[in-house]
C-alpha cells in the first residue's frame, strides 16, 4: 500500500485542522495501517522535541530598545559592530558604577540576589502547569534524566521517603546557569531543591548551620524559607513555605548523601 498521501495529512490531523471526508479517510487508514500509526508516533515525538527542547529565546533588551527607538522615530544608523562596541563601553561603565556601589553597600551577608533567585525559581515551579519534566519513579530514574541536559552531574543521594516524597525533576536556571531541580513534597507543601555549579556566585560569608560537613545559611524571604549551602563545586538551595525545622530535616537528608 502506498501511504504517502495519507502521511502528508498526519500533522494536520494531530493539530485538529483536518476535517470532513479527508479526516475520515485518514482516520480509517490509520486504523488499518500499523506503519502509518508508527510514523505518526515518530512525527509526534519530533514535534515534542522541537517544542520542548529548542530554546524559546527572547530578543536582547538592548536590541528591543534600539529598534523601538527607531520605530518611534529616533534615527539610529550604527552598524552591528559599532553598536556592540558602544554596548561594551556602556557595559564597562555600568560595571564600574555597579562595583563602586557594591563597595559602598556591601555587607557580610551579601546573598540577597541568590535568595531572591531561589524564591523566584521556587515560585516558577509552584505556578507552573508542568512543574516536573520527569515524573519520579525514584531518584535513580530522575538523576539519569539530567544526563545531557546539564553540564554537571547533580549529586543528590536522598531518594525521597514517606516524609518527603520525591515528585520529579526539571531543568531550570539559577542566576546565569542551568540548575537541576528536584521537587519534594511535605504534606501539601512543595519543596524545591536546586543544584547548580557554585563558582562565581555571591555566597554568604557567614553561613552558620552545620550540615553534613558543610555550613548552610537559613534565611527567609517573602514568607519562604531558603536554605543554601555549598559542597565541592556544587551549590544547593532548598526553598519552601514549610516550617524551617522541616526544611532543615530535609537538608540533612540531602546533604548527608553529598
Amino acid at each position: 500500500m502506498d501511504c504517502t498521501e495519507e502521511r502528508t495529512h498526519l500533522l494536520d490531523r494531530r493539530r485538529g485542522t483536518l476535517e470532513g471526508e479527508l479526516r475520515a479517510r485518514v482516520d480509517s487508514h490509520l486504523a488499518e495501517c500499523e506503519a502509518c500509526r508508527r510514523e505518526d508516533a515518530v512525527d509526534r515525538a519530533l514535534s515534542l522535541a522541537l517544542h520542548d527542547r529548542l530554546p524559546r529565546r527572547r530578543a536582547p533588551q538592548a536590541l528591543r530598545r534600539s529598534i523601538e527607538r527607531r520605530i518611534v522615530g529616533e534615527p539610529s544608523r550604527v552598524s552591528g559592530s559599532i553598536r556592540r562596541t558602544q554596548m561594551a563601553l556602556f557595559a564597562a561603565a555600568a560595571f564600574v558604577a555597579a562595583a563602586a556601589a557594591a563597595i559602598v553597600w556591601w555587607k557580610p551577608l551579601g546573598a540577597d540576589p541568590m535568595l531572591a533567585e531561589a524564591v523566584n525559581d521556587h515560585l516558577r515551579i509552584v505556578y507552573s502547569d508542568h512543574p516536573v519534566e520527569i515524573e519520579s519513579g525514584g531518584i535513580h530514574q530522575v538523576k539519569p534524566w539530567f544526563t545531557g541536559r546539564l553540564d554537571f552531574a547533580p549529586i543528590v543521594a536522598f531518594a525521597g521517603d514517606e516524609e518527603f516524597p520525591l515528585q520529579g525533576g526539571a531543568v531550570a536556571y539559577f542566576v546565569d546557569r542551568k540548575a537541576a531541580t528536584f521537587i519534594f513534597k511535605r504534606h501539601l507543601h512543595v519543596i524545591t531543591l536546586l543544584v547548580f555549579r557554585s563558582e562565581g556566585l555571591p555566597w554568604p560569608v557567614l553561613a552558620t548551620h552545620p550540615l553534613g560537613g558543610a555550613r548552610a545559611m537559613l534565611e527567609s524571604s517573602r514568607g519562604f524559607q531558603v536554605l543554601m549551602w555549598q559542597k565541592a563545586d556544587l551549590g544547593y538551595a532548598l526553598v519552601s513555605d514549610v516550617d524551617p525545622a522541616d526544611l532543615q530535616a530535609l537538608a540533612v537528608k540531602v546533604a548527608g548523601g553529598t
Binding site: 500533522l11 515525538a45 534600539s66
Partner: protein, 201 residues
C-alpha cells in the same frame, strides 16, 4: 539566478504584488512602520538565531530586517499580514547575507535540499521504535545541530511552523504557493528526522 542586491524584491501576497525597495542607500529615515511591528521581535530573533547560529549574527539580521521594514514601511498595507511581511523581509535579508558570504554568490542552493529530497515514503522500510526512542531522548544541542545542517528553506519552514504560522502565512513568507507548503513542511521535517539520527549525542 543573478544577484540583484542592492535591490530587494518580495511578494506581499501569494498572488505576488511585487514591491521594490532601494537598499541600502540610506536616505533620511522616514518611519512609517506600525509600532505593533515590535510585537514580533522575539519571534524574529528566535528564527534569526536558528538561521544564523549565533546571537550576534541574529541581532544583526533582526536589525537589518527592521531597517528594511522601516525603509519600506510606506509600502506596507495596513490590514495585511504584518508578521508574514516582516518574516519575508528577514528571509530575504538572510538570503542576501548568506549569498554574500558564499564563494560563488550566483549559485542557488536554497532549493537544493528539497530537490535532493530524502522524504520518507511508505515504500521505505520502517524505522520502528528505535527512532521513536531516539527522538524522545534528543537534547537541545542535538536539535540545534541537526537544524543547522538543513538547507535554509527547510530550516525556515520548520522554524516558522514552530512559531505558529498558518499555511497561508508560510506561503507568503517563503514565496511559494499555498498548495506546496504542506508537502514542503513534511519533507523538511523528514530531513530533520534523518539528521537527528546523525546528531544524536
Amino acid at each position: 539566478m543573478t544577484r540583484t542586491a542592492p535591490h530587494l524584491t518580495w511578494a506581499l501576497t501569494p498572488d505576488s504584488v511585487a514591491a521594490k525597495v532601494r537598499y541600502p542607500q540610506m536616505e533620511k529615515e522616514t518611519v512609517t512602520l506600525p509600532r505593533t511591528a515590535l510585537d514580533h521581535i522575539d519571534s524574529l530573533f528566535r528564527v534569526a538565531r536558528n538561521l544564523t547560529g549565533r546571537d550576534s549574527d541574529a541581532e544583526d539580521l533582526v536589525q537589518e530586517t527592521y531597517t528594511r521594514a522601516i525603509a519600506a514601511g510606506a509600502q506596507f498595507t495596513a490590514g495585511t499580514n504584518l508578521r508574514a511581511w516582516l518574516f519575508r523581509i528577514l528571509r530575504n535579508a538572510h538570503i542576501d547575507i548568506y549569498r554574500r558570504a558564499r564563494a560563488n554568490p550566483v549559485d542557488g542552493g536554497f532549493e537544493d535540499e528539497f530537490a535532493a529530497d530524502t522524504t520518507t515514503t511508505a515504500s521505505e522500510p520502517l524505522r520502528g521504535d528505535a527512532e521513536l526512542e531516539r527522538l524522545r531522548g534528543v537534547v537541545t544541542t542535538d536539535i540545534e545541530a541537526a537544524l543547522a545542517s538543513l538547507g535554509v528553506d527547510a530550516r525556515a519552514i520548520i522554524l516558522l511552523d514552530l512559531e505558529g504560522f498558518t499555511e497561508t502565512e508560510l506561503a507568503e513568507t517563503l514565496g511559494c504557493a499555498v498548495g506546496t507548503v504542506k508537502s514542503r513542511l513534511a519533507r523538511a521535517r523528514s530531513i530533520l528526522r534523518e539528521r537527528l539520527r546523525d546528531y544524536r549525542s
